[in-house]
């Protein structure tokens, strides 16, 4: 009796399925508990990877809920690559449709934020331009300039206070989140991604810069010149600008 890998993996992911025939204990009897070792290893290692990937989601729902949710997720969405550091790409969409989590409508966006932090952490290194690089341009050249942002930069926008929720669950003595829409800029000055709460207009402005619109076009999206200077100052201070064209 040959055991194909398609039979093996199907039985491995179905807790109630029979053990494939052709797998033996030392006395020649059918290996049942021994096959369960593989069942258990796969489920535990994938659930552990999800815990590592989504610590704040886990804190918000509690350990037992997270583990049960992970057991559903990993069967619906087994990894599609051996790069476990990026496992969980489908988590935001999964949580949006996961009925038991309906009372926490911000959960998918928190998962999105945790994925963005992970991608920022592993993104390529960039060499930032000098802090005063823009100051050396003539006013005309400045308005025509286009920026290249560092590979680790990420932008998020949510109808929920995702920055406040994240901070409240990762830092001591943080204030309670107020129910409001929030936008986040993620930078990585060195190795650790940094979260910045930014305004809707600053978000639109940085998004335009990320799409290599000119500074003149990006400036139209902010409230005033002060906000534009502050936004550019934040990007430069965080090492988020790697090239000026």
């Amino acid at each position: 009796m040959n055991v194909s890998q398609v039979q093996f993996q199907a039985a491995m992911l179905a807790p109630d399925a029979a053990t494939p025939e052709g797998l033996r204990n030392p006395d020649g009897s059918a290996a049942s508990k021994r096959f369960d070792v593989y069942r258990n290893n796969v489920v535990v290692s994938l659930a552990d990877a999800l815990e590592t990937a989504f610590p704040v989601v886990r804190k918000l729902v509690g350990d037992a809920f997270f583990r049960a949710m992970a057991a559903v997720y990993l069967r619906q969405h087994p990894p599609t690559s051996p790069l476990m550091m990026f496992y969980g790409e489908a988590m935001p969409a999964f949580l949006a449709d996961f009925y038991p989590a309906k009372s926490l409508p911000y959960l998918p966006d928190i998962a999105r934020l945790e994925l963005a932090l992970r991608h920022s952490y592993h993104a390529a290194d960039g060499t930032p331009v000098d802090h005063d690089a823009l100051g050396q341009l003539t006013p005309e050249a400045l308005m025509r300039a286009r920026l290249h942002l560092a590979p680790a930069v990420r932008l998020l926008s949510s109808d929920y206070p995702i920055h406040s929720i994240y901070v409240a669950n990762t830092q001591p003595d943080a204030p309670n989140p107020a129910m409001q829409a929030e936008r986040i800029l993620i930078t990585r000055p060195e190795f650790d991604p940094q979260l910045h709460l930014i305004s809707a207009t600053a978000h639109a402005c940085i998004n335009a810069l990320a799409q290599q619109k000119t500074l003149e076009d990006a400036m139209r999206l902010v409230e005033n010149e002060n906000e534009f200077s502050a936004t550019l100052g934040l990007l430069l201070a965080q090492g988020a600008v790697v090239q000026i064209d």
Binding site: M1, N2, V3, S4, Q5, V6, F8, Q9, M12, G22, L23, R24, N25, P26, D27, S29, A31, S32, K33, R34, F35, V37, Y38, N41, V42, S45, L46, A49, P78, P79, T80, S81, P82, L83, M84, M85, Y121, H122, A123, A124, D125, P151, A152, R188, F191, D192
Partner: protein, 303 residues
């Protein structure tokens, strides 16, 4: 005594770090203790690695584009020979190897130029789904042909020899027609690959399949061994009450495995020895103590 492996060397190396760039290159693993590298041990290892003479990394953890993991690895590689140990290639898989993953591996091995590359006699991917575990295969002509072709493909793409590790077995396949040692010997003959002998896995498989671990070592092609692994395991029972050991890499190496190591080294001579500890990773002194014990086992056969 190895006077250059202590704190003084570490101090000097840190001071001269920039001068060391690209000057040191380690082509082989030394017959000394190594450990599986965990990022929480970075400062301890850089400050005083004794008696650790080389490090092993899991290839898949260093396939991001940049950031801290790659930066740490570059620093470590300036001071230590590195063994790249893959856990995701699925060499025993029924399907073809994942071309994207092989390309990522080629990239990593290309810039890092590690002293060794190894993978497992196991499968982990089926139909593009990766299960993050080392799953078993039967030992028969069809699997032998397939695994040999995969190993040759990996060695061709990477342009170097690889080592193949013996698995932990929890069960046997009715369809197997040859022993694991014969299967491995034939792979070495057909592909020119080397072997990574995990004596913890030998101990686990022998207990689980009720065979003799010493007989396994006696029959193992020790000349092909480029590295030996040690690790901890869990102890359970199957439904008949028979012992069932589970490879967990989450505990100290047990005495029977240390004894099997001594038995192996007495036949093989000194080899690079790796202590693996992947789950419930302890503080550095605990792992360093395991490496010191491995150093003692090596000293016993070197003297």
């Amino acid at each position: 005594m190895r006077p250059l492996s202590g704190g003084l060397k570490a101090h000097l190396t840190i001071k001269n770090e920039s001068a060391m760039l690209d000057q040191t290159h380690f082509d082989t693993l030394p017959s000394r203790p190594g450990v599986g590298y965990k990022s929480q041990h970075y400062s301890d290892i850089m400050a005083n690695p004794a008696p650790v003479g080389w490090l092993e990394i899991h290839a898949e953890n260093y396939m991001g584009a940049g950031g801290r993991p790659i930066a740490q690895l570059k620093h470590l590689a300036e001071r230590f020979p590195i063994s790249v140990h893959g856990v995701g290639l699925s060499i025993g898989g029924e399907g073809s190897l994942d071309a994207d993953h092989l390309a990522r591996l080629k990239h990593l091995v290309g810039w890092l130029k590690p002293a060794s590359f190894s993978e497992h006699l196991a499968w982990s991917t089926h139909d593009s789904h990766f299960f993050n575990d080392l799953l078993p295969l039967p030992y028969a002509d069809a699997t032998l042909n397939r695994v040999a072709a995969h190993i040759s493909q990996v060695q061709d793409v990477l342009g170097r020899q690889m080592l193949l590790e013996n698995p932990s077995s929890y069960l046997a396949f009715a369809e197997s027609t040859m022993s694991e040692t014969d299967f491995l010997r034939e792979l070495v003959k057909r592909t020119g690959c080397g072997l990574l002998l995990d004596v913890n896995n030998v101990s686990i498989s022998a207990t689980n399949l009720q065979t003799s671990p010493q007989d396994y070592i006696d029959d193992f092609p020790l000349d092909a061994v480029g590295e030996i692994h040690l690790g901890g395991h869990d102890e359970e029972e199957d439904e008949t009450g028979a012992p069932l050991l589970i490879d967990s890499h989450g505990k100290p190496v047990v005495d029977p495995v240390w004894s099997l190591l001594d038995y192996t080294l007495s036949r093989s001579g000194p080899k690079p020895l790796l202590v693996e500890w992947d789950n419930d990773v302890p503080d550095w002194p605990v792992l360093a103590a395991e490496a010191t014990r491995a150093d003692g086992a090596l000293a016993a056969v070197t003297a």
